[in-house]
Amino acid sequence: MDWTAIKEYLPLYREALLLTMKIGWIGILLAFLLGLLCAAILHFHTPILRGIVKIYIELFRNTPLLVQLFFIYFGLPKIGVRITAQTCGILGLGLLGGAYMAETFRSGLESVEKIQTESALSLGMSPLQTFRYVIQPQAVALSVPGFMANVIFLLKETSVFSAISLMDLMFTAKDLIGLYYKTTECLFLLVIFYLIMLLPVSLLGSVVERRMRHAGFGD
């Protein structure tokens, strides 16, 4: 292990980490909003939109991010849609994540039993009140483990961005290996930086999941 080389590469990796985090978290935010929107459309049986959302979810859940990025980054400019690599990364992650988040939220909403809606309605609550005070709190609790798993999955997927020449961690490692041939050091740093990025999220996920396990109601 060549420690001077590691010291030399450190700033490059730090920069790459910042970029990866930036794209990752903006993408996840986008995915979260998109997922909420899609889950709401599915839950409230909106006509037409429901069909579109269903097609979108199936399309993006059943194709790899790498292929989606290639299509967005190399394919779309050919029909006049030109976007930068960063926007493409955020968009790709957001679209992929949106489909996964939508599924998670939808199944969270669905697993609140029907009898709860019926009881709330027969107690004289309006549909809006039922959703706000009965369904939504339970659905949120039920969706949390899936949501955390999605966040980790999406952060891991950012490693694919190097394919569209974004200077993320993976790209930096590959670049440095090609330039200086210090494979061991570069891979070591790569692992360390992914640990820095993902270990806190993973630990947080375990804690939240354990706490939410007691949130089940009525069973």
Partner: protein, 224 residues
């Protein structure tokens, strides 16, 4: 359509080449999935044992797989092992190693989940009815576990297939790489081919994965 590269698909053996590329990716994922399911059953059973040392080891193993992107693992096995140990592992073998390593952990976790989801009273009722331990497992526990596991392992197959698109990054010529080659070769005659070709690759993946995940969803509903 002339300009968007759809016509390229029908030129020469382009479409066949794409399908061949798809098969390369599918073969890797199928081999890995078969090994993963076998090893995963074993690992999952090990995880339910009440052995402290084993628990810690399994926990670390799961955490590594949960945190490290598959691409990083691919790079470590493909480039790192050559550098550190001087091994010469082909790209295909290293991707099978990585995907098996990943798949085994995923499958093991599913098996563990399925095993502990069987309520305690099932074991106790079986015992109260006079069944032996082996009988309990053969007639009561395993059939239920398998029912829960089959949809989940089918889902694992689609995830494996989607993840194998990464092997392109360590130089395996699979469907995406073939697509790139076709685009490069026809750069002059049809400069906009990237749209059509990558759209085709997109739909090829969809056509492979969609029926499998539908099947998983169907079985899950039927058996729940």
């Amino acid at each position: 359509m002339q300009d968007l590269g759809i016509d390229l698909l029908f030129k020469g053996s382009n479409f066949l080449r794409l399908l061949n590329g798809l098969w390369v990716a599918l073969r890797i994922s199928l081999i890995s999935v078969v090994i993963s399911i076998g090893l995963g059953l074993l690992v999952g059973a090990l995880m339910t044992l009440q052995n402290k040392v084993l628990k810690v080891i399994m926990r670390i193993y799961l955490e590594i797989v949960r945190i490290m992107p598959q691409m990083v693992l691919l790079f470590i096995v493909f480039f790192g092992s050559t550098r550190v140990f001087g091994w010469n592992i082909s790209a295909e073998i290293s991707s099978i190693i990585v995907f098996t390593f990943w798949g085994t952990a995923e499958m093991g976790d599913l098996v563990r989940g399925a095993l502990i989801s069987i309520p305690r009273h099932q074991y106790e009722s079986a015992q109260a009815l006079g069944l032996s331990t082996v009988q309990t497992y053969v007639h009561i526990i395993i059939p239920q576990t398998i029912r829960r596991l089959i949809p989940l392992s089918i889902n694992l197959i689609t995830r494996m297939i989607k993840t194998t698109s990464l092997v392109m990054m360590i130089g395996i010529v699979e469907v995406l790489k073939v697509g790139q080659q076709i685009i490069e070769a026809n750069r002059r005659t049809s400069p906009n081919a990237a749209f059509g070709i990558f759209a085709t690759v997109f739909f090829l993946y969809f056509i492979v994965c969609w029926p499998i995940s539908k099947l998983a969803g169907f079985l899950e509903k039927k058996w729940s």
